[in-house]
Symmetry: D2
């Protein structure tokens, strides 16, 4: 290819979203990773930590350095929350364009952020500037943004499922339920006893049922969709699988006389120009494995017993459309590339 | 032990509920399996089909025969639906006491049964006589019953979670949601492509979301609990694990001023005499593995963000409390034994 | 791309090697699938059977037809054994070039084939013409071949591990052991009770230990490598994972004074021009997940306690380098393309 | 029961062998756990750490205290190596009988121990006194012992498989191979990144192939069996399952004219009085799940292609017969109880 190769930096590349960025970008026709940082593993070759990258990169982790990052066309933050907000002012001043996969700039209301993350936000002045990285909704804003705050994994699956219906006002304000489930990689590549194979395998449970940090992010989105304050009951569950999120969404229909065809058309029309949302035929049951390793969100509708409750099933890969894939989708928009550049491979199945 | 050994027969012992009955009864102090039938595998030693039973039984499968079964103190049907109803009249006449793990006698309304199971019921006249095998609710009836129709797996987890609150009238009639998930053994020991390891592992999805046969059974129970017709939106999901069901139940509180303590007390009081329901402290997250191989149901309550929605988490082992364990619990009551005889081993963990 | 798109046909595309060919070829820059056959599912859209292919192909399965296949530049057989040999003469006459993923043409000795596969070979006259599809060994032959008999999954992992050492004569003739393990997808997409999730998960066992069909294929290769008749004790095991094969190979060193460095150099030199064999540093432990979805074979050497036994660890993805990836590698050579065209994506990890 | 209840103490009860002792002893007719220690978790209720124990014990962890332990009839050490040897002299002096599940007293040669465990042994003077806890071999010694050093998990499976044949001298001295595989619980309940579900699932690999600490323990045993110094090549593998070990053992027959029947009789005769070794029919393939949660070892023989290599398949549950079950079996012998008291439940299957 004779085309320009954009230079990419990754801050915090030792986690699962980091190695997923490396995997996906290794296949990107127009972008190459030139910096990958890790404070704790500086000097280590990426391919030594992740043998799957042997033959795909010669990079070593380096200590994060604004000067080096400023040479990049795009910098991804694949860090836990509370890291990017500390480096962001300097990077913004240096004119770097950033896609932040962490939660630091997702919430517009600093008080809400500080309540749920239980600390003081380091640069609230940038919150207003950050564009929320959910391209199906904020495509135009992302194209122009200097700072994109990539949507979270659960919030992506829940918002994409509910948005068209709230936008159209077909669901009642009360009684929205998001019962969702994630694979274990959502907990990150950190040594925790409860994420050991011997603990997490062959079991299933809810967690964070009394209140999870993704709730305010979801409600911020649903409020924007509905044009009025919205609440949701969100209960996440842990599934013994590596990747994947399914959100099972329940809403009470405002007008029970609405037909299934009308409901199906609402969601199909809404995503007609979105290459990464696949609306399946009415009554389908999307499997998380059908999107494994891809940037797709698959959605299907049900109306149990033909009654007044709409059920929306929405599946994504938490590390791809729920994180690194979506981040690259945002990058593509920011750089004026095809939205799906480097993101076209089908899921690994079986 | 110098005590009487009751004689037990199992019809259809080649499936998962059959081998689970064998496993549990091998440890029962007062009962021994003397007949295990299978039309297709007559003559085969049980221990050849299930090497886990080597050293625990010398039985061979036999063709089902009413005469042989009539010698038993208790006969279990571990068959698919549509089998027991054909043999039942003859067994009833022979005076045999039966615990039927299949769905044939669970619904009291024959029309509803025929609608959901899509065939004519072979002996509707026995439906009224059958006692529903959910001992926490129908203990007295089970003790006297000749025919017990053991509650289904999902219905057990959902009813045990909702019942105390519907009984007390603290939940609104509209908006009951049961979002539930099961391990793969729930599909039985039958060769189906979609239950292959390579299909079911590392994935998660809903199934039967537009209407599942357990819905009418659940609604029959919730109606009895509330004393008025109740509907529920029930969506089951498939989890890549062998055993376990979690029901995540959502209900809107009738009176939002009710306290968490009051809600907790309702469920604790209701199950105070039930050895197999363990009400965990408010805000707990029961794991299915904590009940693996046991007859326990663990329940915990949440009220996300302190709002008006009550969340009840209810876990069981689908093959134990959801089938064979519950069947033995019913047998114990029918024979006047301790309710927990042979059912006291803790879960296998890890 | 302005380049020629070669037309590809797949016979028997409903199994796992079929859908893997579809997945990999959807990313191939110079080849497109134009025919996918299935007798039983003719008329069904591939994307309906495999939702992971939604958006990647509009093909429907068709009844196998020599005329349609003859229009293809390459035809893959992704069928069980005993199918391709029946269609092969006609296809050969039609001048079609074929890569056969089945076992029909792997063994050069028809008597051996008929012994292990327990039936009469339908066209023994083509056995001599078929080139064995293990490109690291038979690259030149494959480039010219009309009929390539793709190496089996276990035989690939075992031969690639042993070959350099037998070629160099550093291992004793007696005492070769291949203790290997596979993921469950190796059993194919067929409804078998013993491959159910509830049967295969959370367990491990050997199978076919008294004699497995891959033994003669392996011995044919090792004999070629050593230049004299070789025997091996081959015991396969089943692992509760979807994809992956590890062969753990044991050989007694002919001359115990050989150094580890010499052993390492033998294998590195042998594969220096092979893009899909990655020789890891001495003492590494390759994981099957490091090659998941890729055409790589990773090899590492050990010499426990510095004694006289060489241990070779060799991992592949059974569906990729063990089947469909290797088939495409063969196709690339046959068509004069870069050997790694369409096969460069890194493994999905985690 | 009017029988004596022996008092049991467990040192280090927060790990997997600790909770497995609790699970098994909760069903033991003649023993009750009265002390469970943990330095780090003193004060915590066992049932809070392991919800599977809710309703089965009211114990809280306590700081290890020789006085309290001295009140017990038996004390188990379920600690990592390097702990028990520090407390042992004091306990021995207090007259306590101890079953040590750790590696501290398994090797009779202190130099070998110090080489493999890389530290100074704290009380080498007790090594000679310790009886090796493999009851099938050392039953009489264990009955009299004050200190039993329970056999390791791999060593149990490998020794039980090889012993009868080495004892009878039917295998050649050279070329013994033990290719074994374990579930993840073998790594213990410790937060390690490589044991995370997202790392260990859907993958398979060897580990410790250049030298594993269980090798000297195995060779000490095989040397005792053969009555002359024996070496073995031992390569362990990690399987994505929670419990289970399979050892696949390869030996070259000394006299190829020995019949399969003779080989089968050797192993059947050897274990005729051992309730926990189940010799399956010739050519069987024992599955680890067939012993899950039990103290059984299942063994089966093969002779691939009828040649000169004997293959012994041996499966155990690493936490039961490989640790806590075997420890209780030793305790039963020490206390003069039936060898299988409390250990008779069949495996959880599926």
């Amino acid at each position: 290819m004779a085309t320009k190769q954009y230079k990419v930096g990754i801050v915090g590349a030792t986690g699962y979203t980091g190695v997923e960025l490396m995997r996906l970008l290794s296949q990107h026709p127009f972008a190459s990773v030139v910096v990958a940082t890790s404070r704790s593993d500086a000097g280590v070759a990426l391919a030594d930590m992740f043998p799957s990258l042997r033959g795909h990169t010669d990079l070593c982790f380096t200590v994060p350095d604004v000067g080096a990052l400023a040479q990049c066309d795009i910098v991804f933050f694949a860090t836990p929350h509370n890291v990017s907000m500390k480096m962001m002012p300097e990077l913004m001043q240096a004119g770097v364009r950033v896609v932040d996969l962490s939660a630091d700039f997702r919430l517009r209301d600093v008080a809400v952020w500080e309540h749920w993350y239980n600390e003081t936000h380091a640069c609230p002045e940038l919150l207003a500037e950050a564009v929320y990285g959910l391209p199906e909704i904020y495509r135009a804003g992302i194209e122009q943004a200097q700072l994109v705050a990539c949507a979270g994994c659960y919030p992506t699956s829940v918002q994409l499922g509910f948005w068209p219906f709230l936008k159209q006002g077909v669901l009642q304000e009360r009684g929205l339920i998001a019962s969702a489930a994630t694979g274990v990689s959502g907990a990150g590549r950190q040594a925790k006893i409860n994420m050991l194979f011997a603990e997490a395998n062959d079991s299933y449970s809810a967690y964070g049922a009394s209140g999870h940090r993704h709730t305010p992010e979801i409600e911020q989105g649903l409020t924007a969709a509905a044009g009025k304050p919205m609440q949701v009951t969100f209960v996440p569950h842990l599934v013994p699988m590596i990747r994947g999120i399914q959100a099972t969404l329940y809403g009470q229909l405002e007008d029970p006389s609405i037909s299934n065809e009308q409901l199906q058309r609402i969601v199909e029309d809404f995503y007609s120009a979105s290459p990464f949302v696949d609306v399946m035929p009415w009554g389908s049951h999307p499997q998380t494995r059908s999107v494994k390793g891809t940037n797709m969100c698959r959605i299907a509708l049900h109306r149990p017993q033909g009654r007044d409750t709409l059920v929306v099933l929405s599946v994504i890969d938490n590390l791809a459309k729920g994180a690194s894939g979506q981040a690259i989708q945002c990058m593509n928009l920011m750089l004026g590339l095809a939205e799906d550049a480097g993101l076209t491979a089908p899921a690994l199945l079986p």
